[in-house]
């Protein structure tokens, strides 16, 4: 990370605010074209705070504890919120703007801080003073042209030009803030290309929020923390805003109003120092709430065809209120390879960006062959049921991922009547062979890449995931053996029940005989109970673990992708180094004709290095966000499943009590 900061300096944080502004503008425009006027009204508010900061003696900023500064913009925000909140619509739009103003102020605040640490006070001061006017003007210009959405590109260019200037001067105070800045930078960078694609924008935006959590919690100075928390509010808010607005442009306004109303509340609440995690959680909750109106079930496994060409088709029913789908409920028939095909498509598209694409259940040639050949035996029925449940969970995981849900392939999979046959999923096909080859080369390259991890978070996380996978595997083995032993127990109980029944029949004391046959019955029922419990063990517990072992594999894949990006960047860096050396040689040899070419090459490679670096930063951010999301999801999933499992255990214990209590008088009746 240190290297990165030297080479391609993170952009000045200012650059993000126009974007944010613009995003909110976009959102606003998306809702109502007429809202510009409304937006104008709060705009003075938004421009004021930065001015305030500059009007207030800058010496103050530097001499006072920075926390003061932090509190100041916050106060402003707080006071401002009530005023526009009289009108809901105004509120909706003014809130983000307020926050923008906060952004404006906060980066300024942030700027001096590093400078304070490393550089003469004058330099940042001039920066601070020199830049804001541009900013202000840019935002005001934007306001003026905000009727036209994409008209403000120029402003942004301006901003971009600015960035290097500031940044070159600015040293890196510590690790964590760099993250933030680079995050921001990558956003900006990506932005122009994706501008017309709201979904991508949304995801990019969303990155920033979680990305900031670690810096806040890491050991950077408390001052930086304060600043971050503030900034984060806004990010998360922006994210909430966007996650609701941008993907669902044509959604009813009402839907959007509600969450955005809650968002400011979050920001107010989060102005306390604990803010980051809290807002994150809220964000998470809001996200999940949003997702849960999509219900997918996989039912009715059906054998289609005969012999070795037979396959199982599953009914995939979707129930949703999301407007991105054509109707509220729909059903399609899909076969197993379709599910695999979906995964292939998704992983092709998304895994290189660092997303955790949920893996589908494994192919099982043996199990399927049994189903194909065998008539109706219990093991194949169990296999089908197991696979059905696994597929259902797989789909649910896919759609619960906010960015995968947006993927057209997912929609197609859920909605489209006929799907082109997925060809490359056959285990023994040529494509399968190619895949295996790819995997092998990947594994080899993975071994050759030696990445020295600078990011502590990733270092720990990778280790954690590794450990966790091991433990999960161990646990899974245990649970499997539990399932087997319980099945055994059930079998033995049945045999014992029979044997007791026999004993009862040959017992000549009538009461005892009766009791024994009762006991046999009880044991019989217990056997049933054990059997049910065994299948509960399996379906709620063992399968959960199996899923997560697979998912942890996917997480590791994400880390690998990040490593690859890093490798690309390093390679480019080396190349640049070589080119530079060549240039120096040329310079020395005094060959001006080739010098130009060398310079061009250097420029080209410099561009590449920055691009790759940004890609790496982006993928790091994505992976980070994804892993955090994954952890959350995992905790929730485990909690849910374990509660379910415990409830099943509880249930069987209750049954057990019932059975034995019924038996007790029988035993007492022996005389």
């Amino acid at each position: 990370m240190a290297a990165s900061s030297e080479r391609s300096p993170p952009p000045f944080p200012d650059s993000e605010e126009p974007e944010l502004l613009e995003d909110s503008d976009e959102g606003a425009d998306a809702f109502t074209g007429t809202s510009i006027s409304e937006m104008d009204s709060p705009s003075p508010d938004s421009t004021r705070p930065p001015k305030d900061i500059f009007n207030e003696p800058p010496e103050d900023i530097f001499s006072d504890p920075l926390s003061n500064i932090n509190s100041e913009p916050q106060k402003k925000v707080d006071t401002k919120i009530p005023s526009p909140s009289s009108d809901e619509a105004v509120d909706l739009f003014s809130e983000p703007l307020d926050d923008d103003s906060e952004v404006m102020s906060s980066p300024e605040v942030q700027n001096p801080m590093p400078d304070l640490l490393n550089e003469p006070v004058e330099a940042p001061k001039s920066d601070v003073l020199g830049e804001p006017p541009v900013n202000n003007s840019s935002s005001s210009v934007k306001k003026a042209v905000s009727a036209e959405l994409f008209g403000d590109d120029e402003d942004e260019e301006d901003l971009f030009k600015e960035t290097p200037k500031v940044v070159t001067k600015k040293p890196q105070p510590s690790g964590p803030p760099v993250d933030v800045f680079t995050e921001v930078k990558s956003d900006v960078k990506v932005k122009p290309q994706v501008k017309d694609d709201p979904t991508d924008l949304f995801t990019e935006e969303a990155l920033t929020a979680p990305a900031q959590k670690p810096p806040a919690s890491s050991s950077s100075s408390s001052r930086t923390n304060g600043v971050h928390s503030e900034e984060q509010d806004l990010f998360s808010e922006a994210t909430v805003e966007l996650s609701l607005d941008s993907p669902l442009n044509d959604r009813k306004k009402k839907d959007a109003v509600k969450p955005s109303l809650s968002a400011p509340a979050a920001s107010v609440a989060s102005s306390s120092s604990k803010a980051p995690s809290k807002t994150l959680e809220e964000l998470e909750e809001e996200e999940s709430e949003d997702k849960f109106d999509l219900n997918i079930s996989v039912t009715n496994p059906e054998k289609v065809g005969d012999g070795m060409n037979a396959y199982m088709a599953y009914k995939v029913s979707t129930q949703t209120s999301l407007t991105m789908f054509r109707s509220k409920t729909f059903t399609v028939r899909r076969r197993f390879s379709d599910f695999l095909g979906l995964y292939e498509k998704l992983s092709e598209k998304h895994s290189q960006n660092g997303y955790i694409v949920p893996p589908p259940p494994e192919k099982s040639i043996l199990g399927m062959t049994k189903v194909k050949v065998g008539k109706e035996d219990p093991s194949s029925a169990e296999f089908v049921e197991r696979r059905r449940a696994a597929l259902e969970r797989y789909l649910q995981r896919v759609v619960s991922h906010p960015s995968l849900l947006q993927d057209p392939d997912v929609r197609e999979f859920l909605e489209k009547e006929e799907l082109p046959r997925a060809v490359s999923t056959q285990a023994l096909s040529g494509a399968g062979f190619l895949k295996m080859l790819n995997k092998a080369t990947d594994a080899v390259s993975k071994m050759t890449i030696k990445m020295n991890e600078q990011d502590v978070w990733f270092d720990e996380k990778i280790q954690d995931v590794e450990n966790e996978e091991q433990h999960m595997r161990k646990l899974h083995v245990m649970v499997e053996s539990l399932v087997n032993h319980r099945k055994e127990l059930s079998g033995n109980t049945a045999v014992f029940a029979k044997s007791v029944a026999m004993l009862g029949s040959s017992e000549d004391n009538t009461a005892l005989s009766r009791a024994l046959s009762q006991l046999a019955e009880v044991e019989d029922r217990i056997e049933q109970l054990h059997q049910e419990q065994a299948s509960n063990d399996f379906f709620t517990f063992s399968e959960l673990l199996a899923d997560y072992i697979r998912l942890l594999g996917a997480v590791k894949g994400c880390f690998d992708q990040r490593m690859k990006a890093w490798q690309r960047w390093q390679d480019a860096e080396n190349m640049l180094q070589k080119k530079r050396e060549a240039e120096a040689k040329l310079l020395w040899a005094n060959k001006p004709d080739k010098l130009q070419q060398a310079k061009d090459e250097i420029a080209e490679w410099e561009a590449k290095v920055t691009q790759y670096e940004r890609e790496f930063e982006r993928i790091s951010a994505t992976v980070r966000k994804e892993v955090i999301r994954f952890d959350k999801e995992k905790a929730r999933d485990f909690k849910r499943q374990i509660v379910k499992y415990l409830e099943s255990l509880l249930n069987s214990q209750q049954q057990l009590i019932k059975y034995w209590e019924a038996f007790l008088p029988e035993a007492k009746a022996i005389a």
Partner: protein, 394 residues
Amino acid sequence: MTSISEDSDKEKVRSVSVDLNNDASLVIDIPDALCERDKVKFTIHIKTTLSSFQKSEFSVPRQHEDFIWLHDTIVETEEYAGLIIPPAPPKPDFEGPREKMHKLGEGESSMTKEEYAKMKQELEAEYLAVFKKTVQVHEVFLQRLSSHPMFRKDRNFQIFLEYDQDLTVRRKNAKEMFGGFFKNMVKSADEVLISGVKEVDEFFEQEKIFLLDYSSKIKDATAKAEKMTRSHKNVADDYNHISGAMNSIAADNNTAFKKTISVCVLQKLEDRVASDQELKLTELLRYYTRDIQAAKDLLYRRARALADYENSNKTLDKARLKGKDIAQAEENQKQCLRKFDKLSESGKKELTSFKARRVVAFRKNLIEMTELEIKHAKNSMSLLQGSIEILNSN
């Protein structure tokens, strides 16, 4: 009916042993036992008011082999042919737990510290349970002897109880072992042979049929119950492993997840206890398997006597026919008849009391088992409920 309560008490720990010696004239218990390698030394404590003993309260050290010797001498005593001789206690077997302990030591490196500690604890508990059981079985054997009006007066029994040094009974040597084996062979062959002998008494006929049937059934049930218990134990072990694995997952995980997982660690205890009470049932059945064997032996001895009697009748007839040795044959026949009658009489008594004893024992054990089951189920239920509540609340 003094002996009735005793089998049922067998399972219960010491506290009960008081009430089975409701005849306070001879109270026997084993308060202590010491395990040295493959030898187990029991300390037998005797309290008596009987004049045949020199002291009223004393303790003697005895080994398992002494018990076997006592049993064998009683079996060989002609007098007791008509009685159900209490089955000898089985040889103490600590091999299972010991082996497991050994295995555990080998696998120490492969598991976490807590897991190891837990496993060790578990094994120690198991070892202790086996040990306790062994002591109990021996105790019950003595108590049954002491509560029986005939056996308590047995000379050897008194020696066993009173001789205050080590009995150091000579171990059976190879020849005797082989002899015993051979005797068993002969006995079973004889059993087959005399099964053809027509039963004169309907009671015994029925009893024989019943016992044969019952013994095979109960043997079967015992085997099955053992199997069931074993698999139950496996399940409990699995729970143990799972809780260990869960612990280790929780150890290196973050907060929310940790809470989730550490909660369900609690629940594994449940099955361990459940398996214990199933052991109770198994023990009951196992004991009765042996007891019934003893009853069968009685029947065999009676049948043998009957066959002898019939044989002597035939000899008498022959002698009469031939006209010589009549007196001797008559004598023989009379003796056989007397023996048979006596056997029949005491056998009848013994069998009836055996039946009543069995029923009572079953009743008691079944009730106890059921209550235990309910108790455990309730325990684990509240445990589960608690865990679910904790989970739901955070």
